[in-house]
Every structure is written in structure tokens, then in C-alpha cells.
Amino acid sequence: MIMNFNKFCLSIIASSSLLLACNKQLDLPNPQAIGNDLAFSTDANVKQVLVSAYNAVSDGSLYGGDIQIFGDLMASSGELNWTGTFNTYREVFGNSMLTTNPIIRDLWGDGYYAINVANSVIANINKVNAADRNRVKGEALFIRGAILFELTRFYGKAFNDGTPTQNLGVVIRTTPVSGFSDVDFPKRNTVAECYSQVIADLTEAESLLPNKNGVYANKVAAATILARVYLQSGNFSGARDAANRGITAANGNFSLVSTYSSAFNNATYTTEDVFAIVVSDQDGVNNCHTFYSIPQYGGRDGDIVILDGHMNLYPNGDARKALFYSFSGDWRSGKWRDQYRNVKVIRLAELYLIRAECNVRLSQTVGDTPLNDVNRLRTRASAPVLSAVTLADVLLERRLELAHEGFRVHDAKRLNLNVNGRSAFDNRLTFPIPFRELNSNPNLVQNAGYN
């Protein structure tokens, strides 16, 4: 009996000491993550957050391809066909988007994710070593400005459609959400407000960024997006000046590659790449490759087919035409043929085209003559050089040089061209505010045509 009583006590002592030991065992941090407080504790950490802003921008739904694909797919006008099975993209192609379309939702959601990361960097910029502070802030502003611009032109009416100070653009966010209490339910800003914010961000970014910055945003890139913004809003001198500043800053840092075909399917930055999304077999996606390319190059089924309506635009012997290849009886864009190649966002060639177009429009020759700028590209493409250029020549040149790189629908809107037999200002050429977003934010208003 005594024995048993001792055993009894022993087991009670043993089990209670077990209990005490257990409480500490409940503190289990996530081994793969650090707390919010630590993310901005050091210079190095803030810079790493900036890296993830680039990663966000490189998503397939943003500059990882969809932004570029949508630009051409929305305004096919008999020049290309979507023949793939994904009706998410087919809806974009047919301008018959459902509000529930997930890729349209993801452009929105991933766009704001990137903006929030950029805002987090900007809000913590004083943690960055003084020597790098301008560069880091400039990069974050570049990302915020560029993405806000893309969202504005997909989800808002065109700047030249009606009154941009009244038309709804998207939501402007300039402060980070770092806790639940920061989450709010904003209204949409106007198109004009969005453009102002974009211009402010990119102007500051241009002033802060170095001329060259590895695979990251640089002064030329900021100037190019800024030029796009001005061009889109019809400010031709602003666009021309930004383009010219970009070309000046590019001098000695960037240059056209010798042949047109070598400007594409690159695993590393070429001298012509002002800004590209880095893709390798280790990391990154290239949706342009996925949907423009064909099975034997690791693409899908060759979902986007180029039609004769486009092929016929090129003069004979044009290297840009020669880049197309045939599969299963249809033409395919050679720009996106190979797997694990960088996704082009800004090529230097675009700057010459913007400068040329605006100089023609303004009858000026700031930087260089429009003829020189256009012939620079035609010579490289082995197309016959021109002896004089008109606005139409520059616009056609732009269409050929930048084909299938995401410019078409935005050009159609600013030039007020018909798209797929309808006005460029047709409701069907603006994306719907995603169904999911309307549900979670009662202050958002849906675009016309989607109610």
C-alpha cells in the first residue's frame, strides 16, 4: 500500500511537471517568415521588400505578360485571333468580358498588391542608408506610377473620352496597409486624378533614379513610362520631352541591338532593354510565351494566331515580318517564341517612336528629326528607308515595330480609331471592375456596360 501511494505521488509529480514544460512548447513561430515589425527594421530588409515589389510586378497578370497580351488581344481588328481554349482570354479578345473573369480580377488585385509593397518601401524610406535612399525611393515610385497607369487605362475611360476630371479611373493608394486597421473601403478617383498621381510619381522617380541600374528601374525607364502617360493624354510636348530626356540618359548606357530578331527571346538584358521582366528556368513567368508560343517550344497550343490582316502591313524584306513563323497553318509571333526568356516591357526603340511622333505633330525636331528616328528603326529592320515622314508613317512604324508588345488598344484609344468595328470609346473596351472587388467594397462603382 505504501508502495502504491508513493507511485501515485510520483506519477502526479511527473505529470504536473510535464504540464509546466508544455506551455513553452506552444510558442511556435513560422520558420519561413518574419514578423511585420522586422521587415522594415534595417536597410537591408527594406531593400529586400523592394525586391518583392519587382517580383509582384513580374507576375503573369502584370508585366509578366497579361498587360502586354491584353493590349493587343483587345484590339485585334482582324489582325490576330485568339484560338485558345481559355475563355478568360477569349472574352478579352471578343470584348465580351464577364465581370467574374478571373484574369481581369487578377490584374486588379496583383496591381494593388504591387502598389502596396511599393508604398511600404516609400513609407520606410528613412530606414535606407542615405547613399541608396534616392535610388530605392525612385524604384518604388516607378513601380507605383507604372502600375497605377496600367490600371487606369484598363479600368477607366480613355483620357480623351469625355471629361477625365469626371470619368472614374481607379483607386489611388499612396500609403501602405500594414495592419487590419489600415484597411478601408475607398472610392474610385477620377481619370484625371489618376493621371496626375502617375505623372507626379514618375517625374519624381525620373529625378531620383540613376541612368543605369542593372535589371531594376532606371531613369530611362521612368522617362519612358512618363512619355507614355503624356502621349496617352495628348500632351505631345510633354511626351516628346520625356522621350528625349530618356534618349539622352540612355546615351552610353543603352543602344539598339544590331538586328531586330536579336532584340527578342533573350535570357539576359540586351543593350536595348530599358526595362524587362527577368525570367529564368528558376523563376518568373512569361505569359506572352505561354500564349503566343506553341507546344514544341514549351508554349500552350499556340493560342494567339497572327492573321494576314497584320502580315500584309509589312513591306517586303522587313526583318520584323521575317520574325513570324508558321505552325499548324497559322502565323505566330516570333517575339515570344522561346521559353524562359525575359518579358519585354520597355525597349529603347519605343523612345525614338514617341519622339518622332510628337516632333511630327509639333513640327519640331527636338533631339533629332522624325525622319532620322524612323529610319533608324527601318534600317535596322532592313525595311526600305523613307525620304520623308508623315504622322501616318510614324504611326504605322510604331504599329510594326511594337507589334504584339501590348500597345495596340491604348494607341487605338488615344487615336480614337475603331476597334473590332466599334468605337475605341465603346464600353466593351474598358474592363469591368472585378465582381469580387465590388462585393468587398461597397463604395466602388461599376463601369458603364457591366451593370
Binding site: 502504491n4 501515485f8 506519477s11 511527473a14 505529470s15 510535464l18 504540464l19 508544455c22 512548447q25 506552444l26 510558442d27 511556435l28 513560422n30 520558420p31 518574419i34 514578423g35 511585420n36 521587415a39 529586400q48 521588400v49 525586391v51 518583392s52 515589389a53 517580383n55 509582384a56 482582324g78 485568339w82 475563355n87 477569349r90 471578343g94 470584348n95 467574374t100 480580377r105 494593388y112 502596396n116 495592419g179 487590419f180 484597411v183 535589371v215 528556368d281 528558376q282 523563376d283 507546344p295 517550344y297 514549351g298 497550343d301 499556340g302 499548324s328 497553318g329 521559353q339 475603331n418 468595328g421 466599334r422 469591368p432 472585378p434 462585393n439 468587398s440 467594397n441 461597397p442 457591366y450
Partner: protein, 1027 residues
């Protein structure tokens, strides 16, 4: 009853050293109430260890002290005591099986009669030898309140189990599974971790349903608990058992698609209509001069597609001759067989008892390539070290090998083969499988020749225990359990496959090591005071820790398609490793008190601390109380001739849930990302310090009644489960505006309730000398309702164009919420939907209103088992039914899409609109080549009632008679044939109404079909031999 007898083959045999001079030899016979011999009854001299076992004919001989009392017992009969005399004939009365049986509860056991909670017991023998990989499939239809649904017909994969409905949204709704006292892992890389268990080793499944039963599991009890108790040896002569089974597997249904002639005609029409539409209604932006030109253009398009799909220039045939008519649906399936073999041995003496088994289970899936194979072994050992101390181990090791097929939404999964055109030959004239561009899509048959996806799991679930008897009635038990799951998924995709073709092959190897250890330490005290107060008390603690260690590596550029390991890859393209941990510390207790054999009181509770919550919200207390009244023990009923037993019981308690939403959800963290080879820090989640135990309050009221000598036993339960308020409501990854940069935050966000009734009857309808007929029936009704969502909206709608499950206050979880299809405009063949006013129709999907249109939660389900035995023959038939729920075919927009794209169409599309005035539900055939119009989105067009009744299991067996057995010197021989899912009655037109497509299945995402394989119909022949 017969099964019971067979189970009772184990008997106690002791060698007694007779030191007593005065003995008498007793010979006798044990018979049942019908004077039939009771074989293998145990005859024990009371107060000694002197015992013998009766023979097959019931006769026995035993030497005992003069005047001794003999205790005669046999499983299934009431134990009797008789005074020893030279010639004895002992008549045993049958035990009222369902009420006197012992029920396992958490950390203890009790007699069913005295249970004040809701527990369903399923004997292992009822489920044994069902030729399915997972015991849950065997349990389906057998227990009231327990809903079981296989996601699809892939072998050994996902199964949904809901005990009394769904109380959670982002947290898990799955019950806790406990094997021999130790909670086990249910997570794995692929497949279902519960399929690692050889359920023929199982003695019983106890399903704990109400708070009183589950509160002892506190934080994990909210969704119910399934206790699995494995077989133990019994003292006596060693028994061996062999089981062999062989059979075939087939799909329950094929739905049928257009044949080549129909396909050609349908798509020609669709193309022509598209041309007309473009010219007349689509804006004619291609600029055709007239309608005929537009039609001619589209005819050109379709002819070129027909050329391509028939392989005209690629080694196929000319579609114009219409000589190729490939039934691709048939090709998704394979000839499938099942082979099962197992042996077991059990026995022991008064100090040592053992049960050992080994099994081999090889089942082909019905889908091509799909296969499940399991080798399992078990040793259960118990040893008495002294009269007070007992130790034991339950060890099981299994190896599961599966060949898996891709998720239902992958182009590579077998069922997506149905999209291919019937005019496409399977192979070209060189014998090579056609792929794109000849095949409309990737031909998944290439996976069978040029890819492999194998999953190998080693599973070791082990328990060691020691039990010390401290004082009379006071025991201390300590248990240590270890569940180790090591799984390796190896995928290889060769040069011809979708995933491997651009990179000269792609290989992925993923490892998971999941280790869960548990220790339970508890005291149990039971005593009877003045023969009126029965007290049974348990108090203890437990600690549990789970660590999931995962790593994976991906390689490309393989030397050739035969070298499939990552070692053979020239480039390593991805790799990862990660760790996720969970720890729970708990203290628990229970008191059961019985007064005067008729008034029952139960109190139990558990104090749990979990690592998944922040420091201040980590601990929760989960109590329950229950009362019972055995009315039939009262004087006024005791003499009643009809009612033999009546018990009324009620319970109330509060239970928690802390799993399913990740182990670190409360923390606001930055994880890592990378860009251009540089690591980054990326925002992962928003902090929520107040995230805490999801708590559900549960009320249960039930009664059990036995009539006509307990030949008919009814059991009825009403329950009401409701989320607690005060920030302890259901946990949900609440959607935030994406403009915040975050998509969700994990919060205790709302309240949900389940109300229901359960009803079961077990009856012995006929019992004569040679013939018995037993019926077991159960029926459950559950009503689920979301009561409250704290946030911006009462309606969380997730229509993604394919599916429309939603979370809406006042409606059941996951209701189908979307447009109502209004049929076809007779004037132009457009599909019509109702606008939000419910009256006006529109052909613009974006303008369609959203309505609650269906409920994926079945309102009723049940099962009925009839067992007939005649002499050695037995026929057991289980019908199972699920009623009143709706399934949406998310693939409707592809396969029943009036020729929107080139996917082959279901046969109902032949009813398409053709000319103005046609009244039909299928819109005009119209190929969406130019994207001129909307492709079909989800609506009630693709929703159907999926109620069904199924002949779930039919077993016909024959037992060799005892006479023959004794000649053969065998204990038992049973030959049987078992059919599973033999017939299904349903109005659902898809493959199978029991479906929830695997790639998106969640608590909200239910009632969804998307190229999900039909269930497996199998017929197997088997032989059990015991000796």
C-alpha cells in the same frame, strides 16, 4: 448475431494445476434459447482461473471443486452462473446486443445502456472485407448523422466527412480521427492519409457526435470524433485467419458524347451560325460584303479545323469519309482489378495477448494509370507484468504505393479526354498517339506512355501504454503515440507530355515527413457506493506536437525519357524546403455518475492550449454536461411487456476548432519572394491578435427505446449546433478589398448553425431456427444556416464564371448563388437570363441578376442494411441515399456549351435551337471563333438536383457447416461475393451525383462537378478461412 458467434471463436483456456483433492468432473452442453449448440462458450470455475472452452457442438468437460459455481459466457449471450453438477445443460439467453455492448469513449469505455451522449458504434466486422482502400467508404450509409462523400472515382483519394453538418468555413470541418487513443495525421502530399489504415484490423469504430461525447477532446471535438479501436488478442488457443479477394472495377456511369457524324454536322452548323451572327449582329468588323461571305469564311474555318482534327495531313484520315469515330470517353477508363490477401493470428494466455496481421491490397483505379497498393502489418501486444501493472504496444506499419492522375482541372487528367473530337483517330498511321494540333487539346493518353506520377507512403502508427492499478478502482494510464508518415511523390513528364515537352522532360520529387507525437496521462477511478452510486471519473493531461517537414526539387533537361530521377536532370529548376509545426497542451476530466441504476449524469471538459493562436488567445476551456434517465428501470415501466428499455438523455457543451486555416494564421508576417535571383521580403498576412478558438455550442436531446425483447431498438436524436458569439465565431479568411494589397484576413467572423434530427432502427425482423432477417436503418436531416457575418457584406459571392458557391447570411454554407437561366429566346436562339427583378430576361450575362438557386448541402441522407441468413447463407444489402441537394457542372461551359468552342459536346446539345420559333433549352449552336458574344457562364443551366439512391453494397456469403469444418479441421470457411456501388438511381445527368471536384473542394466549394471521374463500381469474390 452470427457474426458475433464467429468472432467469439476466441476462448479462454487455462491450464490449472489442480492441488485440490475433492474434485468433480462436469460434462455438459451449452445451447441457446432455441436449443442450438453454442460453440466455444467459456466455462469458468468461479473464483479461479480454471476454465475450458466448449467445442463446436457446445459440449464441454471440466474438473472443478465439488460445489463450485460455473460461470458460462459467450459473446452475444448473457453470462450465466450455475452450480456444478455432473451433467449440465446450460441454456444461454441472447444478450440484447445493441444496448449491452461496450462502447469506447475518449479515454475510457462504458456500457451503451449508460451512455448519456450520442455515439454511433460500427463494428469492424460490418465494414471488413469491403473492397475499398479507405474505411470511410465502408462506413458510408451506415451511421446516422455521418455524411460521407467521395470527391470522385480516383482510387484512394479525397473523401469528405461531415458529422452533423459543417460548422466551419475556413477551418476544417473534418472530424478528429483517433486510433487506439492517439490522434492521427490526416494530411499528406497527395491521396488520403486515412487510406494507409488496413481497416480489417479494426474491432470497432465509435463515432462521437455530441458535445458530451467529444468535450473530452475539447478543441478538436467540434466536428465530431472517430475513435478507431484495433483488434486485440484473447487468451486461448491461437486463431489464424486468411482472407483472399479478387474482383473487377468499373465506372458507375458513362455520360456519352456526340459521335463523329453528329460532331461534324453540329460544328458545321455552329460555324455557319457564327458567320451569320458576325455579319448581322457582331458588328461585321471583318467587313464581309454580305452574309453569305461571312458564312463562307466560317465554313472555311471549320473545314480547316476538321482537316486538322481528323489528321488529314498528319497521318490520320479524311473526315469527309467519316470513317473514324473515336469514343474518347471509353478511353479514359482501364480494365481494373482488385486483389486483396491478408492473414492474421491472435491469441495469448492470461498474461500475454497478441494480435498480428499482414495484408496486401492491390486495387486498380477505373481511370487509366490510376492504382492503389497497400502493404500493411500490425502487432498488438499486451503483457501483464504484475497483478497491478499492465503494458502493451500497438504497432502498425504500412506502405502505400499509388499511381496518381492529375487534378480534375488539368489537361492531363484522364477525364478531360472527352473534349477531344470523335473524328480524331487515337493514333497516326505510324502508331503514335495524336497530340495537338491534330488533337483538339493535349491528348491525356500520352501520360500513360510518357509520364509517371507515383506516390509512396510509409506510415507507422504506434502506441505504447502502461496501466497501473493503484488502489481498487483507481488506475493510472500513460500512453505514448507516434504517427510517422513519410511520403515521396515522384513525377516525371517526358518529351511528349504537356509539362515536359518544352524542356526535354520535367521531373519533380517531393518529400513530406509528418511526425505527430502524443502523450496521454490520466487517472481513472470508479467505484460503487452503497450499491446505489456508481461513479466513474477520469482526469488527465495530454500533449501533442505535429511537425510537417517538406522538401521538393524540380529538374529539367533529361537525358532521355527512361531516366526519370532528378539525378538524370541537367538543370535543377526549383527546390524548396519548409517546416510547419503545431503543438497542443491539454488537461481534461470527466465524471460519470449513476444513481440507482437509472439516473445518469456526465460532466466533462478540456482545457486546451494551442500554438496556432496568439499568446493572449491561446487557451480555451471546453465543457459539457449531460443527463440521462433510464426510464425503463422505473417501477411503472419495469413490468411493461412491450418496452424493455427506454432512456432519455440530453447534453449541452461547448467545443472548439483550431485547425485547417494554417498553423500561423494570426501572425502578420513577411515571407520571402525572389526576383532575378535575389531574395525579397514580401508581405504575407495581416496580424490578428484576437484570432482565437472557433467555438461551437452544441445541444443534443435523444432517446433510445427497445421493444419486443429488445428485438427492435430505436434511437432518436435532435441536435442544435451554433457558433459561439463574442469573437469566438467561425474562422474565415475574410475577403478584403484588393486595393488594400491583401486579399484576406483570418478572423473569427461569424456564426453558423446546424440543426438536425437523426433516427435509427435496428431490428431483428425474423428469427427462426434457420432463418434470420435483420434490418438496420438510419436517416438524418441536417439544416445548415449562416447566421451572421461581421463585416461589410451579408453576401459573399464567388461566381467565377464556372461555379457560384457563396456564403450568405440566412442561407446554408456554399449555396449556389448566381443567374437563373431563362431558357432560349425563341426568336434568335440566344440564351436568356433573368435580371435582378426576376422577371425581365436578358441575353447579357453581365446584366443577369444573382439569386440563391440551389444548395450543395444534402438535406437528407441515410442508409438501410438488410441482412438475411439461412443456414450457412447470408445476404447483406446496403442501400444508401442522399437527398435534396444541387450540383453545378462547372465544365458545362465547355462540354454543354452549344459548340462555343471545339470541345466535343454532351448529347443533350443536339436539342439546340435551330430556327425562329423553336422552343428548347439549348441555345443556337454557335462557334465563338470571333469572340463576338459571351461564352456561357455558370447559371442554373448547369445546375441539377443530384439526389440519389445507391445499392451501395451487396454481399452474399456461404459458411461451411460445422460438421464439414470439423472434418476439415478448420474453424470456419466463408466464401462470398461483394458488390460495391452496383446500381444508382438518380436524375442527375452527369457521370455520378456523388461528386465534388477535387481541385477546388473546400467548405464553401461543394456540389461541384468538373470532369470528375464517376465512382468505382466493383464486384469481388472472396474467401475467409479460419483455423
Amino acid at each position: 448475431m452470427r457474426k458475433k458467434v464467429y468472432l467469439s471463436l476466441c476462448a479462454l483456456v487455462f491450464l490449472t494445476l489442480s492441488t485440490i483433492a475433492q474434485t468433480v468432473t462436469v460434462t455438459g452442453k451449452v445451447v441457446d434459447e432455441k436449443s442450438l449448440a453454442v460453440p466455444a462458450a467459456t466455462i469458468l470455475e468461479k473464483g479461479t482461473k480454471n476454465a475450458v472452452s466448449a467445442g463446436a457442438d457446445g459440449s464441454f468437460t471440466i474438473k472443478v471443486k465439488t460445489g463450485a459455481i460455473l460461470v458460462i459466457s459467450s459473446v452475444g449471450f448473457e453470462t450465466q452462473q450455475v452450480k456444478a453438477s455432473a451433467n449440465l445443460s446450460v441454456k444461454l439467453n441472447p444478450e440484447d446486443v445493441s444496448l449491452a455492448e461496450v462502447v469506447v469513449t475518449g479515454f475510457g469505455q462504458t456500457v451503451k445502456k449508460d451512455v448519456t451522449s450520442s455515439i454511433t458504434r460500427i463494428k469492424g466486422a460490418e465494414v471488413a472485407n469491403t473492397p475499398v482502400p479507405n474505411f470511410l467508404q465502408g462506413v458510408q450509409g451506415r451511421a446516422a448523422g455521418v455524411f460521407v462523400e467521395s470527391q470522385n472515382g480516383k482510387v484512394g483519394e479525397g473523401i469528405k466527412v461531415r458529422i452533423r453538418g459543417a460548422s466551419s468555413v475556413s477551418a476544417s470541418n473534418s472530424p478528429l480521427y483517433v486510433v487506439d487513443g492517439i490522434p492521427i495525421n490526416t494530411a499528406s502530399l497527395s491521396g488520403n492519409a486515412l487510406a494507409d489504415i488496413n481497416f480489417n484490423d479494426v474491432e470497432s469504430f465509435e463515432i462521437l457526435k455530441d458535445a458530451a461525447a467529444t468535450a473530452i477532446y475539447g478543441s478538436r471535438g467540434g466536428n465530431g470524433v472517430v475513435l478507431i479501436t484495433t483488434k486485440k488478442g484473447k487468451a486461448g488457443k491461437a486463431k489464424f485467419s486468411i482472407n483472399l479477394q479478387q474482383g473487377t472495377n468499373n465506372p458507375t456511369n458513362k455520360r456519352g458524347f456526340l459521335n463523329s457524324t453528329e460532331y461534324l454536322q453540329f460544328f458545321r452548323e455552329a460555324a455557319e451560325n457564327a458567320g451569320r451572327y458576325h455579319f448581322n449582329r457582331g458588328g461585321n468588323w471583318l467587313g464581309f460584303a454580305n452574309e453569305a461571305a461571312a458564312v463562307a469564311y466560317m465554313t472555311g474555318v471549320i473545314n480547316s479545323r476538321f482537316n486538322r482534327y481528323s489528321g488529314l495531313n498528319t497521318g490520320g484520315a479524311d473526315w469527309k469519309a467519316d470513317t473514324v469515330n473515336t469514343n474518347w470517353e471509353d478511353l479514359a477508363f482501364q480494365d481494373a482489378k482488385t486483389t486483396i490477401a491478408e492473414v492474421s493470428a491472435s491469441g495469448g494466455n492470461d498474461k500475454t495477448k497478441f494480435f498480428i496481421s499482414g495484408s496486401y491490397n492491390d486495387q486498380d483505379g477505373i481511370l487509366f494509370y490510376n492504382k492503389f497498393k497497400r502493404y500493411a502489418g500490425r502487432v498488438n501486444l499486451e503483457q501483464e507484468l504484475s497483478s497491478r501493472l499492465k503494458v502493451g504496444v500497438n504497432l502498425t506499419v504500412s506502405r502505400t504505393e499509388a499511381r496518381r492522375v492529375a487534378g480534375d482541372n488539368e489537361f492531363t487528367t484522364p477525364m478531360q479526354i472527352v473534349a477531344l473530337a470523335p473524328i480524331t483517330p487515337v493514333r497516326n498511321n505510324a502508331g503514335v498517339l495524336f497530340d495537338r494540333p491534330t488533337a483538339t487539346y493535349y491528348n491525356p493518353l500520352i501520360e500513360t506512355e510518357n509520364a509517371s506520377y507515383t506516390s509512396t507512403t510509409f506510415r507507422n502508427i504506434s502506441t505504447a501504454f502502461a496501466q497501473l492499478n493503484i488502489l481498487k478502482g483507481l488506475n493510472f494510464r500513460t500512453e505514448f503515440g507516434l504517427d510517422v508518415l513519410t511520403q515521396n511523390d515522384k513525377e516525371f513528364y517526358g518529351r511528349r507530355t504537356l509539362n515536359g515537352q518544352g524542356t526535354n522532360g520535367l521531373g519533380v520529387s517531393t518529400w513530406l515527413r509528418s511526425v505527430r507525437y502524443t502523450t496521454n496521462n490520466y487517472f481513472n477511478y470508479n467505484t460503487t457506493i452503497k450499491s446505489k452510486h456508481d461513479i466513474d471519473a477520469t482526469v488527465g493531461m495530454s500533449f501533442e506536437k505535429l511537425a510537417n517537414d517538406q522538401s521538393s526539387v524540380e529538374g529539367q533537361q533529361f537525358a532521355n525519357d527512361d531516366l526519370r530521377n532528378i539525378a538524370n536532370a541537367a538543370t535543377i529548376t526549383a527546390g524548396s524546403s519548409s517546416l510547419s509545426e503545431l503543438a497542443i497542451a491539454s488537461y481534461f476530466g470527466r465524471v460519470n455518475y449513476k444513481f440507482n441504476k437509472k439516473y445518469l449524469l456526465g460532466l466533462s471538459g478540456r482545457f486546451d492550449g494551442s500554438s496556432v493562436f496568439g499568446e493572449n488567445k491561446r487557451y480555451g476551456f471546453f465543457p459539457s454536461a449531460s443527463i440521462g434517465w433510464i426510464v425503463s428501470e422505473e417501477k411503472f415501466l419495469r413490468e411493461n411487456k412491450v418496452i424493455d428499455f427506454l432512456k432519455v438523455r440530453a447534453s449541452y457543451g461547448s467545443l472548439g476548432n483550431q485547425q485547417g486555416f494554417g498553423n500561423y494564421a494570426w501572425r502578420g508576417v513577411y515571407g520571402t519572394s525572389r526576383y532575378a535571383g535575389v531574395a525579397g521580403l514580401a508581405p504575407g498576412s495581416l496580424q490578428n491578435d484576437v484570432l482565437t478558438w472557433e467555438t461551437t455550442n452544441q445541444f443534443d436531446l435523444g432517446f433510445e427505446i427497445g421493444v419486443l425483447n429488445n428485438r427492435i431498438v430505436f434511437e432518436f436524436d435532435y441536435y442544435h449546433k451554433k457558433s459561439a458569439g463574442d469573437g469566438k465565431g467561425f474562422i474565415y479568411n475574410y475577403p478584403l478589398p484588393l486595393t488594400s494589397g491583401f486579399s484576406t484576413i483570418t478572423r473569427n467572423i461569424g456564426e453558423i448553425e446546424n440543426k438536425g434530427v437523426e433516427f435509427s432502427i435496428n431490428s431483428t425482423n425474423i428469427k427462426t431456427r434457420n432463418f434470420t432477417w435483420n434490418t438496420s436503418f438510419n436517416l438524418s436531416l441536417n439544416k445548415n444556416k449562416v447566421l451572421k457575418i461581421d463585416g461589410q457584406q451579408d453576401t459573399l459571392s464567388f461566381n467565377d464564371g464556372r461555379f457560384m458557391n457563396a456564403l450568405i447570411v440566412g442561407k446554408p454554407i456554399g449555396v449556389h448563388y448566381g443567374p437563373i437561366y431563362a431558357g432560349v429566346d425563341p426568336a434568335n436562339g440566344d440564351p436568356l437570363y433573368y435580371e435582378q427583378d426576376g422577371k425581365t430576361t436578358t441575353n447579357d450575362y453581365n446584366a443577369a441578376g444573382s439569386f440563391v438557386v440551389g444548395d450543395p448541402n444534402p438535406k437528407w441522407f441515410g442508409g438501410i442494411t438488410n441482412t438475411f441468413s439461412y443456414k450457412g447463407f447470408e445476404l447483406s444489402v446496403l442501400f444508401q441515399g442522399v437527398f435534396d441537394y444541387e450540383v453545378v457542372n462547372g465544365a458545362g461551359g465547355f462540354m454543354s456549351a452549344r459548340g462555343d468552342w471545339f470541345d466535343n459536346q454532351t448529347r443533350d446539345q443536339l436539342q439546340r435551337w435551330k430556327k425562329p420559333g423553336d422552343i428548347t433549352n439549348v441555345p443556337e449552336a454557335r462557334l465563338n471563333w470571333l469572340g463576338d458574344f459571351q461564352s456561357p457562364g455558370v447559371s442554373t443551366q448547369y445546375m441539377e438536383d443530384a439526389s440519389y439512391i445507391r445499392l451501395k453494397q451487396l454481399t452474399f456469403s456461404y459458411n461451411l457447416p460445422n460438421k464439414l469444418l470439423s472434418k476439415l479441421k478448420l474453424g470456419s470457411v466463408r466464401a462470398y461475393v461483394t458488390g460495391v456501388n452496383l446500381f444508382t438511381w438518380t436524375s442527375y445527368t452527369g457521370w455520378d451525383p456523388e461528386v465534388n471536384t477535387d481541385y477546388r473542394a473546400s467548405n464553401i466549394n461543394q456540389g461541384a462537378d468538373f470532369y470528375a471521374a464517376p465512382q468505382i463500381k466493383s464486384v469481388t469474390f472472396g474467401l475467409n478461412i479460419g483455423f
